[in-house]
């Protein structure tokens, strides 16, 4: 076998293969959100991206966050967005471009942001592996404990914020006639 001019990357382990598949799902979803001409296809891509993010949380052993992500984003937010698309339907299917006047500048800024972020993160010596988690239930118990002790004021404020925001949303969207 001839000598390769560069060392081959090591074979991915099973969690890495799972992560790559999830990441491909999330990337395809994100690209669909950005590039689809039909807004409804964008919403479907958004669901794929949300599922990908939930998978990433589960690979990172944050199962509670993953389940919350599926419940809140996939269950509630996607439904809300789909309803809004159907309620504002009139403009959706024109022959016009899905991008606005400043999209050229936006593309340049976006590409620069991505390049700068990746370049920055490659220059930093990150830890190779996190500490192993042996007791997954202790994490969920700890989350519940933190929400009623250290973080009780933010938690109650968050409950108020949700109530006010949802009531305000109804006030904004209702028909005034």
């Amino acid at each position: 076998m001839p000598e390769l001019p560069f060392p081959l990357p090591p074979l991915p382990t099973a969690p890495q293969v799972v992560f790559i598949m999830i990441a491909v799902l999330a990337v395809i979803g994100s690209l669909t959100v950005v590039l689809a001409r039909n807004l409804f296809h964008s919403a479907l891509g958004l669901v794929a991206a949300f599922f990908g993010a939930a998978g990433v949380y589960i690979v990172a052993e944050a199962e509670f966050i993953g389940v919350s992500q599926v419940l809140v984003y996939v269950g509630a937010i996607s439904t809300l967005i789909t309803f809004a698309i159907m309620l504002t339907r009139g403009m959706m299917f024109g022959a016009t471009s899905p991008r606005n006047r400043q999209s050229g500048t936006a593309a340049i800024i976006t590409a620069l942001t991505f390049v700068v972020l990746v370049a920055l993160m490659r220059g930093i010596p990150w830890p190779q592996a996190g500490e192993p988690i042996t007791d997954g239930q202790a994490i969920i118990a700890g989350l519940g404990f933190a929400f009623v002790n250290q973080y009780v004021i933010p938690f109650l404020l968050l409950a108020m914020l949700l109530l006010v925001a949802l009531a305000g949303a109804i006030m904004l969207a209702r028909d005034r006639k």
Partner: protein, 104 residues
């Protein structure tokens, strides 16, 4: 174990896609979708840094922040969509190129 850089690159990609959707899409609902993508990217970073931090079983701040972000995002998208529906009812369009009455 999955390297931390993979999480960060995925999050950077999702953030950049969301940024482009927020800046360059014509439809107001697509802009909201881009904002949701950016919030998700931030959440992926929070969870990744929680996992690779010191004593992840005791130090749960990353997960708690992620939960707060999810809840605030739910409130934000509800108000945003209500605003868009209100604008659509008044102007019959959600095309951002047409919504420029505040422009001097």
């Amino acid at each position: 174990m999955v390297p931390l850089t993979w999480y960060l690159i995925l999050a950077a990609f999702m953030f950049s896609s969301g940024l482009f959707a927020a800046l360059g899409r014509r439809n107001a609902i697509a802009v909201l979708m881009g904002i949701e993508l950016m919030l998700n990217a931030a959440n992926i970073n929070l969870i990744a840094f929680w996992r690779y931090g010191v004593t992840p079983t005791q130090n749960l701040d990353g997960q708690i922040f992620a939960l707060f972000v999810i809840a605030v995002a739910a409130a934000e998208v509800a108000v945003g969509l209500a605003l868009i529906i209100s604008v659509y009812r008044n102007r019959r369009t959600v095309n951002l190129d047409d919504l420029d009455i505040l422009k001097g």
